[in-house]
């Protein structure tokens, strides 16, 4: 599946945006890309921007899980930005919606990932880790 990963940053938080679908063909690539991005910026927290993602398979979810643990091990936090449509549905079915804080905008997501107080309007699921 075709996907494009774009790098960005909001303040001290690294952002990786996904355009297209995340599945078995590119999940490992995405994981490596995010880890490299974190290492290059020497940052601990990460926002995965899924606003332009149109598909997410179980393999894609697992790459997010791996990244969640990776970020946590470094003392940072992982937040998700822009869940919608079938991608949101996949998050709901798999129970991933409870794992990571989810926000609608990058700024809100960066606030959640940065560990600071969540900006107004950000959706923090109860008991997210």
């Amino acid at each position: 599946m075709n996907a494009k990963f774009d790098d960005g940053a909001v303040g001290l938080t690294a952002v990786v945006s996904v355009q297209g679908g995340l599945d078995a063909t590119n999940a490992a690539l995405f994981e490596a890309h995010c880890k490299k991005r974190l290492a290059s910026l020497a940052q601990k927290s990460l926002v995965i921007d899924l606003r332009a993602a149109n598909f997410l398979s179980s393999a894609g979810l697992r790459s997010i899980l791996i990244l969640g643990k990776h970020v946590k091990a470094a003392g940072g936090r992982l937040a998700i930005c822009g869940l919608q449509g079938v991608v949101r549905e996949t998050f709901v079915i798999s129970g991933f919606l409870d794992l990571f804080p989810v926000a609608e905008t990058l700024e809100q997501a960066a606030g959640l990932a940065g560990g600071g107080p969540p900006p107004p309007g950000a959706a923090t699921p109860p008991g997210h880790r």
Binding site: S58, A59, L61, R62, L65, I66, A73, A74, I93
Partner: protein
């Protein structure tokens, strides 16, 4: 320290490796006389059986190679023992096997159109060889099934089921040869051998199609339907706090069972009891959610701190 899974314990791996080598050695020992009787008897049924011998040899080498890789620790990267290359080898081998079956089917049809008499002495020798083959395969079937149960292992599961298939195939060939010899006084008996050979290769071909499909699915990580994969993910999410690192999931289908391996690491400060509790909860949850599945949690070294 949590003990390694039973089939990955060095002693168990040696035992399994020896079982594969024994299989391989016996398959080799039978191949030479099988070629001789097939060539001199002119029996297509015996020729078709040679394909089975070849497949047995290939599977033996592949299985032994997989176990050797596991024992030598080349699976630290969590590639489920076999790895894609070995699966590819298996699929290519299977493709060659199916092509050979098609060739044998064409030969059988040709012999039905232009029948030829068989050499009775070598055909009888072939029957005797099949009887011996059945005895040996039956013994291996029982022995390897016991080994597979002692050390839960998908590889050994596959081996004993292959032994059972070989034993039954020997019986089928033996029945065909017996029929040819028993009916030899009738002029139409010349059709018995090619007809049996055609039935044999058709059955072998049909029973191999799922294997080929499964192998290709495995290479594309499609051994499990996506809804089942998502169920695994749900259990991983439910137990998220119980493990420190997640390294992947590998699944494999074998003989109607689904073998799932989940690679996790646990924080150094965690007690063994806590780690076992998480692994057990994950295993029980997935096994009850996915019918026919057998789940194993593989322990991986904890990820080094990315910050350090």
């Amino acid at each position: 320290m949590i003990p390694p899974p039973l089939d990955n314990a060095p002693e168990a791996l040696y035992r399994q490796e020896r079982a594969f080598l024994l299989n391989l050695g016996l398959a080799l020992a039978f191949t030479i006389p099988a070629v001789i009787v097939a060539a001199f008897s002119g029996s297509l049924l015996l020729f078709s059986d040679l394909l089975d011998h070849a497949q047995e040899l290939i599977n033996g080498v592949l299985g032994w190679n997989i176990l050797r890789a596991i024992r030598k620790g080349r699976t630290q990267g969590f590639d489920y023992g076999t790895g894609k290359l070995q699966t590819l080898g298996g699929v290519v081998g299977t493709g060659v096997y199916v092509a050979a079956l098609l060739f044998m089917a064409a030969m059988a049809i040709r012999h039905l159109v232009y029948p030829a008499a068989l050499d009775q002495t070598y055909t009888a020798a072939g029957a005797l060889l099949q009887l011996t083959g059945f005895s040996v395969d039956y013994w291996l079937w029982q022995r390897n099934r016991r080994l597979a149960r002692e050390a839960f292992s998908p590889v050994m599961e596959t081996l004993w089921r292959a032994n059972r298939a070989d034993a039954l195939s020997c019986l089928a060939v033996l029945a065909g040869l017996g029929l040819t010899l028993a009916l030899r006084r009738y002029p139409w008996s010349v059709y018995v051998d090619p007809a049996c050979a055609l039935a044999f290769v058709t059955y072998a071909g049909l029973s191999f199609l799922p294997v080929l499909r499964e192998g290709i699915g495995e290479m594309l990580d499609k051994t499990l339907r996506e809804d089942l994969q998502l169920r695994i993910d749900r259990h991983l999410a439910q137990n998220y706090d119980g493990y420190a690192g997640f390294h992947g999931v590998r699944s494999r289908r074998s003989a109607g069972r689904i073998f799932i391996e989940i690679a996790l690491s646990f924080p150094p400060g965690q007690t063994v009891a806590e780690a076992v509790q998480t692994s057990e909860r994950l295993r029980r949850g997935i096994e009850s959610d996915i019918p026919g599945s057998e789940v194993r949690v593989v322990l991986m070294p904890a990820e080094p701190d990315p910050a350090s």
